[in-house]
C-alpha cells in the first residue's frame, strides 16, 4: 500500500493519441512549431483516417497500461475521405457504451475534432484531457494481473 502511494505521488499519466494524418496530426505539428505549451505525456500514433482506429485498438491500449486514449479527426464534413469521421463517431459511441456496460470508466476515452489549422485547440485539448486523466489517477487495469 505504501508502495502504491509512493508510485502515485510521482504519477505521470500515460496518454495515447490517435491523430488523423490530414487534420489533427498537422494540428499537433502546428501546436509544436508554434511552441505552444502542453503536457509532454502523450504519445501519438498517426493514422490515415480516424476511422482507421478499431475500438479494439483503444481497449488494447487501456489494457496495456495507457491511462487515457484520445482519438482525434477532422470536423464532420471535412474528412479527407469525405465520410470517414462519421464512422469514427459511430465506433466511439459503440466503444463508450460497451465500456460503460462492462463497468469501465468511459471518460478515459475521448473523441475530439481538430483541424490542421487548430494548433491552439490541439494544445488545449491535450491540457484538458491530461487534467481529466490526472484527476482520475492511474488506470486500474494497468496493474491487473488476470486480464
Amino acid at each position: 500500500m505504501a508502495d502504491k502511494k509512493k508510485k502515485e505521488a510521482g504519477y505521470e499519466p500515460k496518454i495515447l493519441s490517435f491523430c488523423c494524418n490530414w487534420c489533427s496530426y498537422a494540428g499537433a505539428d502546428l501546436a509544436g512549431v508554434s511552441r505552444l505549451q502542453m503536457p509532454a505525456n502523450f504519445r501519438t500514433i498517426r493514422v490515415m483516417c480516424s476511422s482507421r482506429v478499431n475500438p479494439v485498438y483503444v481497449f488494447t491500449a487501456l489494457e496495456r497500461g495507457a491511462d487515457g486514449v484520445i482519438v482525434t479527426g477532422c470536423h464532420p464534413g471535412d474528412c479527407h475521405y469525405a465520410r470517414g469521421n462519421y464512422f469514427t463517431r459511430r465506433r466511439q459511441a459503440l466503444l463508450e457504451k460497451v465500456l460503460e456496460e462492462i463497468g469501465f470508466d468511459r471518460e478515459r476515452v475521448m473523441l475530439r475534432w481538430i483541424s490542421a489549422s487548430e494548433g491552439p485547440e490541439f494544445a488545449s485539448t491535450m491540457e484538458e484531457f491530461d487534467a481529466t486523466i490526472r484527476s482520475k489517477g492511474k488506470n486500474p487495469l494497468s496493474e491487473e494481473v488476470f486480464l
Binding site: 459503440l94 460497451v98 486480464l147
Partner: protein, 370 residues
C-alpha cells in the same frame, strides 16, 4: 389479415407432414430440419431431399445443437440455393441468418424460412443420452398455457423476440389449447401462400385472434428479461466484477466457435495471443510484477463484445458450450442490447437495414464529440 392453414396433426408430426408434402409435390427441392441420428446418436441439423428420411425429423425438439443461422450460412456461403429449400429454424436462428447475409456470409435466395413461435430451448447438454420425454410433455403443456417451461436456457427466459420476424411461415404454438391435436401455420408471405395452395393440406383461412396465452408469454418474457438484467451488475469504474466473472475463462474460445455472428475464419484475438512475444512479457512484468499466461483472457471477451455485440441475437449457444459456466449469453445479451439501443438497431429485423457501424447519419451522436 394474413392467412393460416391448419394441419390435422400436432407439433413435430404436423411439421413433418408439411415438409413431406412440400418435398413430394416438388414445391421445394430440400428441407433443412433437426433430425435424430440413428441409434441414439443425438440430434443434428440435416438437409433432406428424400421424404422417407423425414421420419426421423424432429423439427420442434426444444434443443439447439448448432445455430441454424450458422448452418444456413455454411450451406449458402459460396452460392445461393439454386432451387427452393425450406428450413425450419427458430426466430433467433433466422435473425442470425439475416445478420450473416449482411456480412456477405450467406445468400437468402430460394430459401423458405419456417419458424415457430419459440417457447425456448433446453441446454444442448440434454441431447446426449437423456431422453427428455417427461420434460418435453411439460414443455408443450406450459407452451399451450402461455407459460415458460422450466429448465430452459437462461437466456431464453428473457427473450422478447420469440415471435419470428421476416419469415415465410410462422408455426403458431404459444397459448394454443389445440396444440396436441392440430398444427396452425400462418403464411406470412405471398410465396408461402402460393406454395401451400397446391399441397392439399386444406384451405387457407383468415388468421384468427391471438390467443390469450401469447400475450401472457410476452409479459412473462418481459419480466424475465428485467430479472436477467438485474442479476448482472457490472457498474463501476475498474471493471472489477467483469474481470472476476471472465477471470474463470479457460480460453477454449468455444463461445466464439458456436457464435453465429463470429464468422471470421481466423479470429483476431487468437492471432493476437499467439503473437505475444518476449517484449510483451517484459512490458507486462515491469508494470505488474506478474502476468497471466497466455495473455488476453478477459480481453478476448471485451474484444468480442466490441466486434459482434451490435449483432448479437442472444441465441444462447455460447453459454451452453462454456465449460466453466460463465453466464456468457446473458452478459452478451445485456451489453449487446445496450449497444443496439444506441443505434435503435434490432439484429435480424430487416435484411435491408445496414449494420450500424457500416453506416451513419450526419447529424447524430453529438454526446460522444466531447
Amino acid at each position: 389479415m394474413t392467412a393460416t392453414i391448419t394441419i390435422d396433426k400436432p407439433l413435430d408430426e404436423g411439421v413433418r407432414t408439411l415438409l413431406r408434402s412440400m418435398l413430394e409435390k416438388g414445391t421445394v427441392r430440400a428441407v433443412l430440419t433437426l433430425r435424430r441420428l440413428e441409434d441414439g446418436g443425438g440430434v443434428a441439423h440435416c438437409l433432406v431431399t428424400d421424404p422417407a428420411a423425414l421420419a426421423e425429423a424432429v423439427p420442434l425438439l426444444p434443443v439447439m445443437p448448432s445455430q441454424g443461422g450458422q448452418v444456413l450460412s455454411h450451406l449458402t456461403q459460396e452460392e445461393p440455393f439454386k432451387e427452393p429449400v425450406a428450413a425450419v429454424v427458430r426466430p433467433c436462428e433466422a435473425r442470425a441468418f439475416v445478420e450473416l447475409m449482411k456480412r456477405n456470409q450467406a445468400f437468402g435466395d430460394n430459401l423458405v424460412l419456417i419458424s415457430p413461435e419459440c417457447p425456448g430451448v433446453f441446454p444442448v447438454q440434454r441431447v446426449s443420452g437423456d431422453p427428455m420425454d417427461d420434460d418435453i410433455d411439460a414443455y408443450w403443456r406450459s407452451t399451450s398455457e402461455g407459460k415458460g417451461a422450466d429448465g430452459l436456457r437462461p437466456v431464453c427466459t428473457g427473450c422478447e423476440l420469440f415471435e419470428p420476424i421476416g419469415v415465410d411461415m410462422t408455426l403458431r404454438l404459444v397459448g394454443r389449447s389445440d396444440l396436441d391435436k392440430v398444427l396452425t401455420v400462418r403464411l406470412d408471405t405471398q410465396r408461402a401462400e402460393d406454395m401451400v395452395k397446391d399441397l392439399g393440406l386444406g384451405k387457407a383461412k383468415e388468421d384468427g385472434k391471438d390467443p390469450k396465452g401469447l400475450e401472457a408469454l410476452r409479459s412473462a418474457r418481459a419480466k424475465g428479461r428485467a430479472d436477467l438484467r438485474a442479476e448482472l451488475d457490472f457498474t463501476g469504474e475498474d471493471m472489477a466484477e467483469f474481470s472476476r466473472t471472465f477471470g474463470k475463462c479457460i480460453s477454449c474460445h468455444a463461445c466464439s466457435k458456436v457464435c453465429p455472428i463470429c464468422y471470421c475464419q481466423m479470429c483476431y484475438f487468437e492471432a493476437r495471443a499467439a503473437a505475444a512475444g518476449p517484449a510483451w512479457w517484459r512490458n507486462d512484468l515491469k508494470r505488474k510484477g506478474a502476468t497471466r499466461a497466455p495473455p488476453g483472457t478477459v480481453f478476448f471477451h471485451v474484444g468480442r463484445l466490441l466486434h459482434m455485440s451490435i449483432s448479437c441475437v442472444a441465441c444462447g449457444m455460447c453459454e451452453d458450450v462454456c465449460p466453466v459456466d460463465i453466464p456468457v449469453a446473458r452478459i452478451f445479451k445485456k451489453v449487446g442490447e445496450a449497444a443496439q439501443e444506441v443505434f435503435e438497431y434490432v439484429p435480424g429485423r430487416d435484411p435491408k437495414e445496414e449494420i450500424p457501424i457500416k453506416t451513419f447519419v450526419e447529424d447524430e451522436l453529438h454526446e460522444v464529440e466531447r
